[in-house]
C-alpha cells in the first residue's frame, strides 16, 4: 500500500466515523483521537473501516501505532 492509498483510507474512515471532523486541519503528528474528538466507540469503528479498506489485520496491540495521522500512514504502509 502506498502512502497515498493509506492517506485516502484514513480520510474515508474519518469521514464516515466523524463527518464533521476536520482532518485536513490536523497536523500529521497531532493526536488523532483528541484532535478529532473520537470516543472509544468512534475509534473502534475507525479501526474497523481501516481493516475493511486495507485488509490489514489490526490488533489492540497495534493501537499505539494509530496515535497520529503520520504514524497511522506509516503503520498501514507496512512501516
Amino acid at each position: 500500500m502506498t502512502p497515498d492509498q493509506a492517506q485516502h483510507a484514513i480520510e474515508e474512515a474519518v469521514a464516515r466515523v466523524a463527518p464533521d471532523a476536520d482532518l485536513a486541519g490536523l497536523a500529521p503528528d497531532a493526536d488523532l483521537r483528541d484532535g478529532l474528538e473520537l470516543d472509544s466507540l468512534d475509534f473502534l469503528r475507525f479501526v474497523e473501516i481501516l481493516t475493511e479498506r486495507t485488509g490489514r489485520q489490526i490488533t489492540e496491540d497495534d493501537y499505539p501505532h494509530l496515535a497520529t495521522l503520520a504514524s497511522t500512514v506509516k503503520f498501514l504502509t507496512g512501516g
Binding site: 469521514a15 464516515r16 463527518p19 473502534l44 469503528r45 489490526i58 490488533t59
Partner: protein, 448 residues
C-alpha cells in the same frame, strides 16, 4: 402524543409510518415525532388495526393529545361496536388487560410471570407471547421456547409484513429499492439501512461525497441552530428541576481495573474488530448488575415515595456532535450478554447521533450512567434525571500507583461516582452500590 421524556410537553408529527387499516403490533414504530431534543420513533403501545389518524404531519400538539385510533383485535367478535383506544398511552404503560374469555387455554393456576429478558427476545424476533406454552418450571416461558417458535415460523412468515426502520425506508425511496424484496437483519427481521444498500443498486460515487454514517435527519423540522437552542432549553428545564427538587448526595470510589482490562485484552485478541469490547461495556454491565444487587438506587421517585423498578434499564448519557445530549436506555442491561450489551451500546450511540431513537428508549431508563472517561476527566458527579433516583459516573481509566498486599504497583484504575436522591436512599445504600460495582469488576468473567 406520548411523553417521550420527562421534559417533553409537546411534539410535532413528522411522519406517519402507518395508514388507516394497517395492522400494528405492540412496539411497532408508527410515527416519527419531533421533540425539543430529537426526532423520535414513536411506538404503538397496543396491538390492533389503525382506525383514523387524528393529527396531520407538521402539526404540533401537547402531550396527551390523541394521535390515532387503534381498534383492538380482541374485540372483533364479541363487541358489535369495536371500542377504539387511543394510540397514545401513559408513560408507564400498564400491563395489557385481557378479558378472561380470550385466554386461549385457561390455566388452573395463574400463568407464571414472563421475564423482561424473554419479552425482549420475543420482541426482537417478532414472536407473540400470548399463544405460547412454556416448557420451563410451572409452565414458564423460556428463551428457548421463544427462539424455537421464531425458527419454526420460518422466513416466509417473517417476511409477510415488511418491517423497516424509517431510515431504511428513506434510503429505499432514494435508491428506488422495493422493501418487500429486501430481507432484514434487524430485530424481528426488520429491514435496516445496510440491508437496503446491499439490495439496492451500487452506492453512488463515493469519492465525491463520502457516505456518512450518522446521516443528517432529513425529516427534522428544526434547523441545526434551532435544534441546538431547543435542546439546550429542554436540558435546562430538566436539570433545573432536578436540582430544585432532588436533594442529591454523592459518594465516590476508586476501582482497580487490572483484572478486568487484562481479561478484556486477552479476549479481544481473538476477535474481529467488530466484535471487540471497550472498557465502557464492562463498566456498563457492572453498573447494571450492581443496580440489580442494590435495588435502592434503581427506580423512580413518584408521588412522594420511591418505587423500585423491576427491570434494570440502563440510561446512557450520549453527547451529540453538535452539542447537547440524549440519554436513551439499554433495556434489561443486567441480563444482556456482554457482547450484546456492547453492540447495543454501539447501536444506541449511532442512532442517538443520527436522530433515530425509539420512544421507549427515551422514557424507560431506571438509572443512568455517564461516562466521561473518553474526555479525559478523572471523575464526574452527575445531576440525576428525574424521576430517576441515581446517576452513576465513570471517569477515565488511568494508570496510578496503587498499594496491593503491602507493595506499590502501577495499575489501571477508574474513579466511580454515584449521585443519588436522598429522599429515596441514604449514603449507606449508595456506598453499597459502589462496593458492589467494584466487586463485580474484579471478576470480569462473570460479566459475560
Amino acid at each position: 402524543m406520548p411523553a417521550l421524556g420527562a421534559d417533553m410537553d409537546e411534539g410535532t408529527v413528522l411522519e406517519w409510518l402507518v395508514k388507516p387499516g394497517d395492522e400494528v403490533h405492540k412496539g411497532d414504530v408508527i410515527a416519527v415525532i419531533d421533540t425539543a431534543k430529537a426526532a423520535i420513533d414513536a411506538e404503538s403501545f397496543s396491538a390492533g388495526t389503525i382506525g383514523q389518524l387524528l393529527v396531520d404531519v407538521g402539526q404540533t400538539v401537547p402531550v396527551g393529545t390523541v394521535l390515532a385510533m387503534i381498534t383492538e383485535p380482541a374485540a372483533r367478535k364479541a363487541a358489535p361496536q369495536p371500542p377504539a383506544v387511543p394510540a397514545e398511552l401513559p408513560r408507564q404503560p400498564a400491563p395489557p388487560e385481557r378479558e378472561p374469555e380470550y385466554v386461549p387455554v385457561a390455566p388452573a393456576r395463574p400463568a407464571p410471570p414472563i421475564s423482561p429478558l424473554i419479552r425482549k427476545r420475543a420482541h426482537e424476533l417478532g414472536v407473540d407471547l400470548a399463544g405460547l406454552r412454556g416448557s420451563g418450571r410451572g409452565g414458564a416461558l423460556t428463551r428457548a421456547d421463544v427462539e424455537r417458535t421464531a425458527a419454526r415460523r420460518g422466513p416466509a412468515d417473517a417476511g409477510a409484513r415488511s418491517k423497516a426502520t424509517p431510515r431504511a425506508r428513506r434510503v429505499a425511496a432514494e435508491l428506488g429499492v422495493d422493501l418487500a424484496g429486501v430481507s432484514g437483519t434487524g430485530p424481528g427481521g426488520s429491514v435496516r439501512e445496510a440491508d437496503v444498500r446491499r439490495a439496492g443498486p451500487a452506492a453512488p460515487a463515493r469519492e465525491s461525497v463520502p457516505a456518512r454514517e450518522p446521516a443528517p435527519a432529513a425529516l427534522a423540522a428544526r434547523s441545526g441552530a434551532e435544534r441546538a437552542r431547543s435542546m439546550r432549553q429542554a436540558i435546562a428545564r430538566l436539570m433545573a428541576r432536578s436540582k430544585r427538587e432532588i436533594p442529591h448526595y454523592y459518594v465516590s470510589g476508586t476501582v482497580d481495573m487490572m483484572s478486568a482490562l487484562n481479561w478484556m485484552h486477552e479476549r479481544n485478541r481473538e476477535l474481529a474488530v467488530s466484535e471487540r469490547l471497550v472498557p465502557a461495556a464492562l463498566l456498563l454491565k457492572a453498573a447494571a448488575l450492581a443496580a440489580r444487587r442494590v435495588p435502592g438506587v434503581n427506580g423512580y421517585w413518584v408521588d412522594d415515595r420511591f418505587r423500585p423498578a423491576e427491570a434494570v434499564h440502563l440510561g446512557l448519557a450520549i453527547s451529540l456532535r453538535g452539542g447537547g445530549l440524549l440519554t436513551p436506555a439499554i433495556h434489561d442491561a443486567d441480563g444482556l450478554p456482554l457482547a450484546e450489551l456492547m453492540s447495543g451500546m454501539r447501536d444506541l450511540v449511532i442512532r442517538a447521533r443520527a436522530g433515530r431513537l425509539r420512544g421507549s428508549e427515551l422514557t424507560d431508563a431506571t438509572i443512568t450512567v455517564t461516562n466521561l472517561g473518553d474526555q479525559g476527566v478523572e471523575s464526574v458527579f452527575g445531576v440525576i434525571y428525574p424521576p430517576q433516583v441515581a446517576l452513576v459516573g465513570f471517569g477515565k481509566v488511568t494508570e496510578r500507583p496503587v498499594a496491593v498486599a503491602g507493595l506499590i504497583g502501577v495499575r489501571p484504575v477508574v474513579v466511580t461516582t454515584l449521585a443519588a436522591d436522598h429522599r429515596a436512599s441514604d449514603g449507606y445504600t449508595g456506598a453499597r452500590y459502589l462496593t458492589a460495582l467494584s466487586d463485580l469488576l474484579q471478576k470480569p468473567e462473570d460479566l459475560l
